[in-house]
């Protein structure tokens, strides 16, 4: 196919050609960035939690009155929940993965260090790792005699009395690698305050923090042997088989109500609900971006159809002359297809530069990472395809122009 005659024709239609090129460039740039944003959101929504999500339920209750012995109340509740048919395991905890509300601690590798090394979330409560299904990859799980009551610990932290503070902790693999790169974290100590150190006795494969924003710090998690008492915003986490969840939830609520009919259930949900709720903004945004991409491609396609139709009708006589001089219908068809391909290619080249510029802007405004190179071809291919599809109709109409047109009203 000869490109030169096409280029010289386009030079005669500078304004319309440039309009089309710019439209393609803008669309290409936005599609690249929007696909990238969708990818980011999807990647975030896929963030692993490290727990057996389809088998877990969370229940939170608020007691009418603080019970005289909050620890006895927890034991009583947990014992009642264990009796519910279908329940595999029960834990009380201060926070749940993706639950948003998080208790955090500043960790130091050295007690005299002025600045913290990092900030990690601290899960408290009995049987957390076992119930949630967080896999222990080395060391041991927390034992009953590691545990201390939360009131005692808080008081001891206030007075600096290190005897009444637990001495051991579980950490995640990622946290261990971050604190002691390339070394075995078992037996090492991490400092919560200048006087309180916790020794690592076990390493969990993965346990996500409740308020995971970015993937880098999402796994900075510790499980500390502190026993939760009632009326401390504690949750019960129940492990059951996936198909039993609804029945177990109903029975568990009834069991808890039986212990104190006046208590209010403030949270009752499955972990699937928790994940859905935590990532709902991301899902909505990804959906919106997908909608925008589709709408953009349609609008651009319509623009191409409109302009191509205009050019075809403008060049009817020229086409007729070409046909009369021996051009085949396929020649005419290919002419318009090649023309569109050229315009799309120039537009895409400009669009790449623009996509890069938009990404730089988003990086400064929204702390996004750099657009990886593999996203550029997505916009290019989308626009080449859209362009060819859009021009097909007008090009076919052009190829249907009979040679006899050449003889009329020249």
């Amino acid at each position: 196919m000869d490109i030169l005659p096409i280029l010289s024709t386009l030079r005669r239609h500078k304004l319309t050609s440039w309009l089309l090129i710019l439209e393609i460039a803008l669309t290409c740039a936005i599609v690249c960035n929007a696909v990238f944003l969708i990818g980011q959101r999807l990647q975030r929504m896929d963030m692993p939690s490290g727990v057996a999500e389809h088998e877990l339920l969370q229940i939170q209750v608020a007691d009418a009155v603080v019970p005289p012995n909050p620890y006895a109340r927890i034991s009583e509740d947990v014992a009642a929940l264990r009796q519910v048919p279908g329940v595999i395991s029960v834990a009380s905890t201060n926070e749940v993965p993706f639950g948003n509300s998080s208790s955090n601690g500043n960790l130091r590798l050295d007690p005299n260090q002025p600045e913290r090394t990092l900030n990690a979330t601290t899960y408290f409560g009995e049987d957390i790792a076992k119930t949630m299904g967080a896999r222990l990859i080395s060391g041991r799980d927390l034992q009953p005699d590691d545990f201390m009551n939360v009131d005692v610990v808080l008081k001891a932290l206030g007075t600096g009395d290190s005897k009444n503070i637990p001495s051991v902790t579980l950490i995640t693999r990622t946290l261990g690698e971050r604190l002691w790169p390339g070394q075995n974290p078992l037996g090492r100590e991490v400092w919560l305050t200048p006087t309180v150190a916790l020794r690592v006795v076990g390493v969990l494969d993965s346990l996500v923090r409740p308020n995971a924003y970015d993937t880098s710090s999402a796994q900075y998690t510790m499980v500390v042997p502190i026993r939760m008492g009632a009326s401390k915003d504690e949750s019960y986490v129940i492990r059951t088989r996936a198909q039993d969840r609804d029945a177990v939830m109903t029975a568990a609520l009834a069991a808890l109500k039986k212990i104190d009919p006046l208590r209010v259930v403030t949270t009752q949900r499955s972990f699937d609900d928790i994940r859905n709720r935590y990532f709902q903004d991301d899902r909505a945004m990804a959906g919106m971006l997908a909608g925008v991409i589709i709408a953009l491609l349609i609008v651009t396609a319509l623009g191409i159809v409109g302009l191509a139709s205009f050019w075809v009708s403008q060049r009817r006589r020229t086409i007729g002359v070409r046909r009369a001089l021996g051009a085949t219908r396929a020649n005419i068809l290919h002419y318009f297809q090649t023309e569109n391909f050229l315009l799309a290619t120039i537009g895409i080249a400009l669009g790449m530069a623009l996509a890069y510029a938009i990404n730089l802007f988003l990086m400064t405004k929204y702390e996004l990472p750099r657009l990886p190179a593999e996203y550029f071809p997505i916009g290019a291919i989308a626009l080449w395809i859209i362009g060819q599809l859009a021009v097909l109709g007008p090009a076919l109409r052009a190829s249907a122009v009979p040679p006899v047109v050449a003889t009329r009203s020249v």
């Binding site: 319309t16 439209e23 936005i30 808080l154 206030g158 909505a284 409109g306 988003l362």
Partner: protein
């Protein structure tokens, strides 16, 4: 002349229905998308209390004991009880209110309804007049109620409807945890956007700030008596030490109280600024505060800016929508160019019969404007649809969304201006067609 051009434009639009429809759809979709996001932006970024915002301020002192050699520590978003109480009790502003929020279990003993968890705002008597809070029944409490730890409460219109079917419930009793509290006021529906008096911690939220657009609390109680009832359920912003469980909330090493002050003139504001600086210096001399020079007094709107209350997703969507509108306009420019130039012959005849270039230009622009107007109607409908879709989403500000008269007008102004802009180049080109050439080809 305008009427004639309008008639011509209508005829021209009818002649090529497909091309017209393409242009109208492009403008309608572009306007619909950008107006939907612009309306959300407009509603979320507005002034929550236009009559008062210029006189409302948010004082802060820094109770952190940690050394801060580089002066890089921004004071925490709330204050410890002592600092807030001292500043409040000094009564150096025209009005002042302490604010803390919490949640607790609530029943109405005279009403047969299951107990519920309610959000409660602990505040002081100036809160209601200072923020122009509208009452349906009764009113707020008096300064002496703050002093005497009165067991009184003001409830929201929503809670009044839920518990008492919307009847006048002044004088009736609420049971908060185990305490009976007398209702002295019921608010009329009140929905500031954002719920500005609770805004704090925006800089730690990674742009996920939709919760600033929650509804106001259901129960309002005097600060003093609310602590008697619900100290344990009060929300704490952060602590600089791990608090001892036995310590009273007032003495905890934590920040959890916000103070709002009303200062009616710039002179009063600068006096107050000096007052809190002096207070911090005096407290440093007493050894209670470590940082005396880290006090701030932001105005309400500065405070909202500082917290970046508009969620970052909403801002991103607005950029996206305008880029989308731009593409739709490029599209329309191309299509209008095709449309006008196709009529070159007709334009040539008009010019030959004496029409000036200006007349041709005006005629083309009228046609472009008409397309804009029709596109605007489509855009308006799409905006309504877009807002309805967002209202279905489980976001805190869903119930706030509506198209007010200003945004309604903006829709049409924007549609017509956009189409005139898009029509400018094609119309100019059309008005400049070479006369002789066009007549020859007829």
């Amino acid at each position: 002349m305008f009427g004639y051009y309008l008639d011509l434009a209508l005829r021209s639009l009818k002649r090529n229905k497909v091309l017209t429809a393409l242009m109208v759809i492009a403008i309608a979709v572009g306007i619909g998308a950008s107006m939907t996001t612009l309306t959300v932006m407009h509603l979320l970024s507005g002034d929550p209390i236009p009559t008062r915002s210029a006189t409302l301020f948010y004082p802060q002192v820094d109770p952190s004991p940690d050394p801060d050699p580089g002066h890089t520590h921004e004071a925490w978003d709330m204050m410890d009880y002592r600092s807030a109480m001292d500043l409040w009790a000094a009564h150096r502003a025209d009005r002042q209110a302490m604010v803390a929020s919490g949640s607790l279990r609530l029943t109405a003993p005279e009403v047969n309804q299951p107990p519920l968890m309610a959000q409660m705002l602990s505040t002081t008597s100036d809160f209601f007049p200072m923020f122009d809070v509208p009452f349906q029944y009764g009113g707020g409490w008096q300064p002496q109620d703050d002093q005497s730890r009165s067991r009184v409460a003001v409830i929201s219109s929503d809670l009044n409807i839920k518990l008492f079917g919307g009847a006048n419930s002044v004088g009736r009793t609420l049971r908060l945890k185990d305490n009976d509290v007398r209702i002295i006021g019921v608010l009329a529906p009140w929905r500031p956007s954002p719920q500005f008096y609770d805004v704090a911690g925006g800089r730690f939220s990674n742009g996920k700030t939709a919760s600033f657009y929650n509804k106001p609390e259901d129960v309002f109680m005097p600060f003093s008596s609310s602590l008697d009832i619900n100290a344990s359920g009060t929300n704490i912003f952060t602590c600089w030490h791990v608090p001892d469980a036995d310590t009273k909330i007032e003495d905890k090493p934590c920040v959890w109280v916000a103070l709002w002050v009303q200062l009616d003139s710039a002179a009063k504001a600068s006096n107050y600024r000096r007052f809190i600086a002096d207070y911090a210096a005096q407290q440093k001399a007493l050894g209670r505060l470590t940082h005396a020079d880290n006090t701030t007094l932001r105005s309400l709107m500065q405070w909202l800016d500082f917290n970046q209350v508009v969620p970052s997703d909403v801002r991103l969507q607005t950029w996206l929508a305008f880029a989308f509108l731009l593409i739709c306009l490029f599209n329309t420019v191309g299509l209008l160019l095709a449309k006008f130039l196709r009529r070159s012959g007709e334009i040539g005849v008009r010019r030959a019969l004496g029409a000036t270039q200006g007349a041709v230009l005006a005629q083309c622009l009228v046609e472009a404007g008409l397309i804009g107007l029709i596109g605007g109607i489509g855009g308006w409908l799409l905006t309504l649809l877009g807002l309805a879709l967002i209202r279905q989403q489980p976001v805190e500000y869903a119930d706030l969304l509506h198209l007010d008269s200003m945004m309604f007008l903006t829709t049409f102004v924007m549609a017509i201006v956009a189409s005139l802009l898009a029509g400018a180049v094609p119309a100019w080109r059309a008005s400049r067609v070479a006369l002789g050439l066009q007549l020859k080809t007829l």
